[in-house]
Amino acid sequence: MSAVAPARPSAVRRTLTTRPTAQDVGFVAAARSAAVSTLVIMGLIGIFLLIGAWPALHSQGWHFLTTTEWLPETGTFGIASLLWGTILVGLFALCVAVPLGFGAALFISEYAPRSLKGPLVTLVDLMAAVPSIVYAMWALFFLQAHMLTIAQWLSVHFGPMLPFLRVQTPDSPSSYTSSAFIAGVAVGVVVLPTVTSIMREVFAQAPIGEREGAIALGATHCGMIRTVVIPFGRAGIVGGIMLGLGRALGETIVVYAIISPAFGLTTRPLQSGTNTIASHIASRYSESNGVALSGLLGAGLVLFLFTLVVNTLAGVVVSRSRSGASTEI
């Protein structure tokens, strides 16, 4: 039978089509245009900043990034000191927000009794919703007074060993006011809920199967967290830190309220006086025009790109889930 069977005609591939309803088409179009518009708005902001900043960037060239002074009247201005101050404040903010956020996230996700867990999650979310100006007032009128003592203690006790903790007149409390350190601590409090919230979310997703596996092997709760929860949440920890940094770099009003503007690449963050890009723009834009305003837009462009990169990296890290190594069978 098979010997005489005729050769099969080669199969013709069919075109598979689906015919969406008008409702589908309309809904997809609306959703797509909403999604695209966010990208367009983002792009327009970048283009606007670039166009606005062009005269300043053109006149200063690369010096815009390396000049520490801001003297638009004389034609020399750059953002080196602002960038440095921004990074300093961001780092101090992380020093506060990361350990506190990590601990708080672990407590909420792993140790808090059920009756406390919900309220704590809500509270952290509420903290993130409090406007910065409220934090700014609190930092200015309350936190700063208390941080002075700490700053002075640090400087007096560790300054002799660690040069960057020294200030010019260690005995005078006023040497410590309005510093990058105090601004950083205040910004750290502002970004704390962001960091906590992201870390808590990934910790809570650690698979129950692996948790029970560790516990059934005789692990302590702490051992289980070290073996299962933290390795699982590593991407979230890094992502949380970077998103916190992204917010800290752009934080404006809190820094503006606390610091006294100073230009120069300070190596003494406890010493009064610093400046960040965001705070500098806020303090100068109303009195600037011409090339000075263009310079501010240039500073804004740098901040825009900087935070964009940090946040994108954070997003990449967070979204890089463990799917490739999941335990799904």
Binding site: I215, L217, A219, T220, T227, T327, I329
Partner: protein, 282 residues
């Protein structure tokens, strides 16, 4: 039932040993008058069962009759569920594992568990997965000793030949059946006295199931095994003793009948047992 009584008496005559040398203890597990609740909902009522040392006891019964809850009570995993409560005693060689003076982790170190869904630590290597139990309990082995234990555990679990050339590969790179046997190796590496298995083959294909069953038979001489299974053939094949659980709708589960596996399957005393093992309900 006389057999049960005999073995029960036997355990009572065993001297309470304080020799905790791994693998050397008699390791008889006795549940005595165990009831369990989740909140206000009672799921088990007055369950008493002796699981003799180094034999395989199968817990069978329809879904929702409290077998898994009972199993989790045997190594204090039950209390991890919020709102969980229990009554009665679980004695390992005469000592109540719920004694307030004992820490749960001590009991869990002696009574290992393999879960329904394989749960190796996915990013950890196969080698480290096997040693995870030691690391988690603060014991470290280095070099040759560690390698020997890994090999011995993987051989016991019937996985050695398949993974010997890739011990550094992550646990998640294995197939489902291999992952489950890795979990068995991981549980065996701490030399438990008892190994609890909660439907260990329910997510596996027939070939993997057969390998796991062979593994269970192979380790039965070393550890006491308690296995929950929905597969009657499996219960018949792997177990020495059986306990049939049942629960009426909305009522707590209880043991209808228990005894030697052959008796349960071939000469059941209770008609409900006969119906269940012959596939007439459940």
């Amino acid at each position: 039932m006389t057999l049960l009584d005999d073995s029960h008496d036997q355990t009572l005559t065993l001297p309470v040993t304080h020799d905790r040398r791994p693998g050397s203890t008699p390791a008889t597990l006795v549940a005595d008058g165990v009831s369990a609740w989740f909140g206000d909902h009672q799921v088990l009522e007055d369950v008493s069962l002796t699981m003799p040392a180094r034999r395989v006891t199968a817990l069978i019964g329809p879904s929702g009759c409290g077998k898994s809850t009972f199993l989790r009570i045997l190594n204090r995993m039950h209390e991890l569920v919020p709102g969980a409560a229990l009554a009665g005693e679980v004695r390992l060689d005469g000592e109540d594992i719920y004694d307030p003076a004992r820490r749960p982790i001590e009991s869990r170190r002696r009574i290992g568990m393999v879960f329904q869904k394989a749960n190796p630590f996915p990013t950890m290597s196969i080698h480290d997965n096997v040693l995870a139990g030691l690391a988690l309990t603060g014991r470290r082995l280095r070099g040759r000793d560690a390698d020997d234990l890994v090999e011995h555990s993987l051989r016991s679990a019937g996985l050695w030949d398949e993974v010997r050339t890739r011990l550094d590969a992550p646990g998640a790179s294995l197939s489902g059946g291999q992952q489950q046997r890795l979990c068995i190796a991981r549980a065996l590496s701490v030399r438990p006295d008892v190994l609890l298995m909660d439907e260990p083959c329910s997510a596996l294909d027939p070939t993997s199931t057969r390998r796991v069953e062979e593994t269970i038979r192979a380790i039965a001489g070393e550890v006491t095994v308690v296995i929950v299974t929905h597969n009657m053939h499996q219960a018949h094949r792997v177990s020495d003793r059986c306990a049939f659980f049942l629960a009426a709708e909305g009522q707590p589960g209880y043991i209808v009948e228990q005894g030697e596996t052959d008796d349960i399957f071939e000469r059941p005393q209770d008609t409900r047992t006969a119906d269940y093992v012959n596939g007439r309900f459940g």
